[in-house]
Assembly symmetry: D2
Homo-oligomer: 355 residues x 4
């Protein structure tokens, strides 16, 4: 058995959380593996990938070659066999977790990285996802934006882990919505790296073209819009119009959101900065920076970097994060830490590279 | 003598315009060379680059190796010697053309690619450029956004060629401003490729970092803002607030502007599209496209691609162009064509590659 | 009818060659379109792409949007209908032209961009392509490496257009093989951009991974090896072992070949350079450069840039070209020019951009 | 004080090695900081960067923002003050460590990441580095290629850490040289990412050009050649000619070496693979892979991935690593671990990302 780190750096095996990963072949599952294999308090018991069943994890995700003995399994037909685990992560395509998670044994918690349980209103869910809610399971899910929802997450059984665009946008908007300073329309101009399209090759991620591209997609129709609006209504009094627009970058990793807002009265740069500093003073993974964040400095990390600027009543807030870490697998582990009473940062304090 | 094209494809030498280029070492000058060397109606008489004086053009701009015998000259001390040319292009750093162009011989026209003559108000110019107007020379300059200013350009002696961001933004906004349909604030979220920073290596264009970067810069303070506002006031009744924000992409070439507007009453996608089709029906170099433009399809060309979308009163218009061609040298040549009664498209109908 | 250039820049319509393109949807076909639409002596009569039949060319290849009225056709069932054309280009997947070209009407010439007719020996062809020769059609094909085979090309009916790797390698090796100075083994370490994998998305061109990749593929087994060896035997006395290795770059366009050779006696840098200068003195599209070529300066052009270096008996020759132009469509047009008595450079003297 | 990891994951502070870093502003120093800040057995006592003295490390290397309280210091005038540290790393420009390291207090060990102490022969050193040896200090240095020199490194006082190209090349060649199977000339075609040029912006790393580039440099003259030859003579009977050629890739991180060799008798793929498996059976950081390594899977890690292929007597070995980690800072820490009796892997088992 390969042991990727010294045993003395981890809690003893019997004290580790026993976790499963459903959907280990995509980028979300791959990043869960990368993080959890090195988590001091967790042990991956099994990971599914039907198309790769039997193959070693390191053969499929070559970054993990020689770092683990794990092999991919087929998903079990009946989740009742999972009753010796503590937690299951679901990193499956939209729609597949809908029936799975509600059938987990009672003692097993669940974190879903898809959009299946993010939308409370069944009509809105149907409109954006073309799917129906799974009975009344939705009411057992807590929205997993760690920084704005910590207490609810601690006691949650099920977590709907936020979308990557939604995470970047909500972390940029939440302090302003909470402050009640906003008026008028909000515009969010959001951009994503190509890994946001997933691990399967497709026309829009064909390298010869994508490396020189920048374009917009799904104008006025992105499915993260209702997720953002729904959560903002829990953060504060949110009745503003929100225009949310998504674009594609020619980098591999990263979300960058430029958020344009207006305040009821003039706000100074200093007051604005203080508002964000204060809101995130206990949030290790949000860094308030000067000038502008850069996805280059957030890549491969669980940080969301934010900068704020005002000009009279006009406010712009920039946020940058790694779509696969803080925008997916990293935030999922952050939520796991809270759900099991661990340090929120456990297993997540790894730096990105320079360059 | 190398002759880059068959003589029978060009007008006879005696009928060609005799042009000079001041500042041939930067990307703007380099693209002027690339275009004008193949222009059927123009002959480059000389090109300056003080630091490269005596070197062949093809040694400095290796894309032009073996395509021309031209060598770089030092700029003449007194422009009076230029009285046998028809036109001079100025592709110099901001500030250097201020005193030069007004001293051109009376029979020589001028096109300036810098920001020196774009701003009519001396106070605004001073605020954004930290420079003073050159006496009253400013009044002799016509703003060279070809598509909105054709008639004035035809009879102009001097042209202030628009900035790259300004071109992308203005072409996206002009039809709406002209229509008088707008109300409220306009947000322009603009992004540029790294060649927009010029041909000299600098920290923000250091490849190891830039290839994974996306960031914002100069929030609320970019010098193209007053240029855009000034010109919009000539296009229609423009009294809207404009928030203009610039960002940096990890591609080499391209400007992409996402322009968020609001109409007084609901507008359908079809009506919006028709408005743009109509406005640009005689403008070969503006292509109205479905979905979204992509800088990949505009790169290395003189096209500006535009797409429009509405949702009730909310409108977004996307524009994409090559910052060095339609955003600089190409548009300058387009203006030259008009100034000398040539076909506006002469020398400019070259396609980009796929991919 | 859109006319991409002034008529006075082209020969009159009745004097233009009438050409057809089979396989217009891939990158090879796309580049043929880009070049031939602007060729002064050619007119594209039709272009096939079964999957896109009926669509406009500019809708599929968005770089050509608004530059042509052409639409894609289905390939005709019987090529006998083509008897009013002068020349057909075939840019189809390997194997598809084998039966097509021999069935062209007698008055129609053909240029094949695939590997179907490059290998004279049927056993070697079978081994590398898993295909059989099409009867005795092979003997009617001339190998289309323009610079080494001009006279044969002028009088050819059918051309087997060289592979991209083969072009870069042969242009680097030919002067040495011709010189009879070589001894011992030759090593060619060749690298290609991602467009060499074609226009269809695939795992090895998935942007998130490819943008950070460099890897080797097909060690000792690339199908361009026998093509290179076969042609070198026609250039000079070639009995050397040749190790040919292919690698993948994270750029879109470009082939770079590093060719390691050994001479029987010491050779100076100057003598080596003179050998190449002399060999290519009448070849406009081969540029001998100092230091190293760079694919950046050859991209989007029909040039092959070459640099030579010696150290005692050790010689290295670097060559760089655009795999889709000099390595495919450009060279095909260069051969067309020769076959029809035109200037070899006609329609091909376009510069790449800087940057 | 920020503590980047739980204290229970590290040995107690009093048991940690006390280390200093000279030259913390470049990429080598930056990666040393990234690794050592998270090393369970090391404590960075100070880090120098004269130009940034007083600034926080996280302000200069923004990937480390909020991960450390360290600030940059000026280098001390007299190294005698360092007598309370255990080890100093030197990541300075070539030439600067020559006089520094020999003046370290007797109880302090040193690891030099520059080329200052890699070449034993003063004449060769002078020829390639234009510098003189520092008295007889050279004899106290051990060459730090961990996998081939472990025992000598364990007892070394000073380490000359190998160059990035040299590491990739030596790990690919060493098993063959040791085996005595080689005959004839060896060709190494090596390629590096842009971070190999350092953290300072320069013409060859200007993003607009570099992102589309591939080119060769320093033919027959790279300073890693004598370093490779010198070390191979200690690995086995090495009398072969070696042609070593360096090229530049358009990625940020990564070295890829294609090494062409010839064996005295035919060798099968299986025997070749076994030779490498056996040679590296105790080397965790060398992974023998199928097909080809890819720099994408080695980036940000301390792994060197190797693949081997034979064809009769012709052998090619591909190696890939991250130039800043296994090619610099990671290997330096690996050597530190050995010098102080720690697990060779301590602090170095971190995975790269997918993608």
């Amino acid at each position: 058995m390969i042991e990727p780190k010294n045993d003395n750096l981890r809690v003893s095996a019997s004290d580790r959380l026993r976790v499963a990963i459903f959907g280990g072949s995509g980028y979300g599952g791959s990043e869960l593996l990368r993080i959890l294999l090195f988590h001091p308090n967790a042990e991956i018991v099994f990971v599914t990938a039907n198309e790769h069943a039997g193959k070693s994890v390191g053969e499929v995700h070559k970054n993990l070659n020689e770092l683990t003995d794990l092999r991919f399994d087929k998903a079990p037909d009946d989740l009742v066999v999972l009753n010796d685990i503590d937690l299951a992560f679901f990193a499956l395509p939209h729609g597949q977790a809908l029936s799975l998670i509600p059938s987990l044994p009672k003692n097993v918690k669940g974190i879903d990285l898809s959009g299946d349980f993010r939308i409370d209103d069944p009509d809105v869910f149907k409109r954006f996802y073309k799917l129906d809610h799974a009975g009344d399971a939705q009411k057992n899910f807590v929205y997993g934006l760690t920084e704005t929802n910590r207490e609810a997450i601690r006691s949650a059984r099920y977590i709907a882990n936020p979308g990557c665009f939604a995470t970047a946008t909500l972390l940029a908007l939440a302090p302003m919505v909470k402050s009640s300073l906003l008026t008028g329309k909000i515009i969010v101009d959001a951009k994503t790296g190509s890994s946001g399209s997933g691990a399967k090759a497709a026309a829009n991620t064909h390298h010869p073209q994508r490396m020189n591209s920048f374009y917009a997609y799904k104008p006025f129709q992105h499915q993260h819009l209702p997720e953002i609006e729904q959560h903002l209504r829990t953060v504060g009094e949110f009745e503003n119009d929100l225009v949310f627009m998504t674009h594609s970058l020619s980098v591999s990793r990263g979300i960058f959101a430029s958020c344009y807002m207006e305040t009821k009265v003039n706000i100074s740069n200093e007051d604005l900065r203080n508002l964000y500093d204060d809101f995130y003073k206990d949030s290790f993974f949000v860094r308030i920076v000067e000038g502008s964040p850069d996805i280059n400095w957030a890549k491969n990390t669980n940080f969301c970097d934010i900068a704020t600027h005002s000009n009279g009543k006009q406010v712009v807030v920039f946020s940058a994060l790694d779509n696969l870490v803080k925008g997916a697998a990293g935030q999922a582990v952050q939520n796991m830490n809270l759900m099991f009473g661990l340090d929120e940062k456990a297993g997540l304090v790894f730096p990105g590279g320079n360059p």
